[in-house]
Amino acid sequence: MAAPEEIETAVAALSESSGLEFRVTDVPVIGTNLYVVYARNHPLPEKYTVSSATLGFRVPGNFPDAGPEDSFFLQPDDIRLKEDDPVTHTRNLNRASSNQDFVRGTELEGAALVFSWHLWEKRPWSRSKNTLIDHYAHCVRRFDQPEHD
């Protein structure tokens, strides 16, 4: 099995644009039609407990008619802040939680730290205009925001 050609092509374009080696899983997550696009050793902000991790997001098999999910994840799932956030007074990452099923049945099998990050609700995904490059740019903007925002 392999991911649909449309996703493979979009992932190649994302790799070229970002300079990172993005891949897509050969199979969808069990119980879904979602393939996982991910990059290992993705750099993370200085404030996190690790400097790099696997960063990924899930893309429907009928991409680009259907856009990526409004979320992304990191692995391992125990990444935290080095110091307490001044507002939330915790080292937990805001609006992020560990989930066992997020990449179930793929080569990334294991818990993932899933981030909520709503962009496509406010500006609906356009199958002819938007790309995975847009989605990735939107995901990593999360790291530029104050942690408690």
Binding site: G31, T32, N62, A66, D101
Partner: protein, 478 residues
């Protein structure tokens, strides 16, 4: 007199249609007829729609002549080499599968009524023009059309180059597609009337002998033959539709019997279409009647090719994903699709909300994206399957509520939805009222029938690709 024996006639496919958006055709006809009593002509781009047994040449952009491009009398036309060159250059720029159609008129003259048949002079001229137009463009199908002075008196043919020279084949039918379809038979039409018209007496009193002839010869596709598709199939066969292609990949289960017409306990384990095909053939009122059942998906690559042989289709699938290619297909290939869907929200014997809708996808009516039947959000949510809405829960540490996605489905609601869709079918194919509605929705518990007022969106990808035929990229869904 037609003299096609002198032309290099060949068979591209067993059937050939010319299709055009009805508004575009109206403009072409009006502008050309204004030049009467002289003959008149225009070049138009064509895109092809290649099915398994039918080729359709779709008329698109027109290139109207300017001063000096055409000299005309009531008996002849002279087209300048400059006009031809300009159009050919533009076709090359438009892509290798863009063909060229020459459309011209035969107005009434002192010798009699202008007839819509190719004259000996037309044959002579086109046999010299089309080798040039088709040269080195093997992927393009070109066309020529002649209009007589009466509105439905038309002849047409397609031209192509098979590598060893120019070839031509008469077109059987002209399809004008907007919110409704108008069929114009050429002298080469193979349409037949029902051999015993009295059998259809009560229906013929509504749509006339012409409507009966359309139904007898119409080829309708039904994608999905489950709760709604089986009712559509029974209804069309009973109404006298002569040619039906039906697709369903699923196998009949005991859980389907309570809402699938024609299914019996003996058919459990058979393919959904194969299970009811013998009954459908037995009840069909058209003569001849041709039912082609397919135990595969109508939105697969092969299914979409076969669907190009159809004049109209019903979308009776229960997911959003296959609606995407069917919606795109309707506009790109000028094959109207009538979409239907039902939805029930219930709790403990009480219906909280019911909706069934029937929506025509065809040029002149906003598409499924514009009407928000299909949204990216809905498609993504559907792709989440067992993990529906996980992105709204998982980040907050909330438990994932598993669902198998199966919703209620009951026969009365499906019959109501099919009823709406069949009324729309009568309008699209037979024009029984003045206009085709946009999107009819029946709501409970309000017991209201609403017509949506959503318009086409600015820069709609689907509607921008109207008439592009095989040039439009449509992603199959299996």
């Amino acid at each position: 007199m037609p003299s096609s024996k002198r032309l290099p006639t060949c068979a591209l496919t067993s059937e050939v249609h010319i299709a055009c958006e009805s508004n575009r055709w109206k403009e072409i006809e009006e502008r050309l007829r204004k030049e009467s009593p002289n003959e008149a002509c225009v070049f138009a781009f064509t895109r092809q729609s290649r099915g398994s047994s039918r080729t359709t040449s779709i008329l698109r952009e027109c290139f109207w002549p300017v001063d000096g491009d055409v000299q005309a009398s009531p008996h002849w036309l002279e087209i300048s080499a400059d006009y031809i060159s300009r159009v050919m250059d533009a076709a090359v720029d438009a892509g290798e599968s863009t063909g060229i159609a020459l459309i011209h008129t035969h107005p009434d003259t002192e010798y009699g009524i202008g007839r819509g048949v190719f004259s000996g002079r037309d044959d002579w001229y086109e046999a010299r023009l089309f080798p040039t137009i088709t040269l080195a463009r093997p992927k393009a199908i070109s066309a020529s059309i002649v209009l007589g002075s009466a509105s439905k008196d038309i002849d047409a043919r397609v031209w192509w180059n098979d590598g060893s020279g120019v070839r031509t084949q008469p077109a059987n039918l002209l399809r004008l597609v907007g919110p409704e379809i108008t069929f114009i038979e050429t002298p080469h039409s193979d349409w037949r009337d029902h051999p015993d018209p009295s059998m259809m007496d009560r229906s013929t009193r509504l749509w006339g002998a012409e409507g009966r002839r359309i139904l007898q010869n119409l080829r309708v596709g039904i994608v999905g033959v489950g709760g709604t598709g089986s009712i559509v199939l029974f209804s069309l066969a009973t109404m006298g539709v002569g040619r039906i292609c039906a697709w369903d990949i699923d196998t009949m289960k005991k859980e389907n019997l309570h809402r699938t017409l024609g299914a019996t306990k003996d058919t459990i384990g058979s393919n959904n279409v194969e299970a009811i095909a013998p009954t459908i053939r037995a009840i069909a009122t058209a003569t001849p009647f041709d039912l082609m059942p397919f135990d595969s998906s109508g939105t697969s690559t092969a299914g979409l090719i076969k669907l190009k042989d159809c004049d109209l289709a019903f979308c009776c699938v229960d997911r959003f994903a296959p609606r995407v290619p069917l919606n795109d297909f309707a506009y790109a290939h000028l094959v109207p699709v009538i979409d239907m869907a039902s939805w029930i929200d219930a709790s403990e014997k009480t219906v909280d909300a019911i909706m069934t809708h029937a929506h025509v996808w065809s040029p002149g009516i906003p598409c499924a994206w514009c009407r928000q039947t299909i949204t990216s959000r809905r498609l993504t949510r559907e792709a989440q399957g067992d993990q529906r809405d996980i992105e709204r829960r998982a980040p907050y540490g909330l438990p994932l509520e598993q669902t198998d996605g199966v919703e209620p489905s009951v026969l009365p609601l499906n019959v109501a939805g099919v009823g709406l869709a069949l009324l729309e079918f009568m309008q699209v194919a037979l024009k029984v009222t003045k206009r085709t509605p946009r999107d009819l929705k029946l709501f409970l518990p309000e017991w209201e029938l609403d017509e949506s007022d959503l318009d086409s969106q600015f820069e709609c990808d689907t509607e921008d690709a109207t008439g592009l035929g095989d040039t439009a990229r449509i992603r199959p869904v299996s």
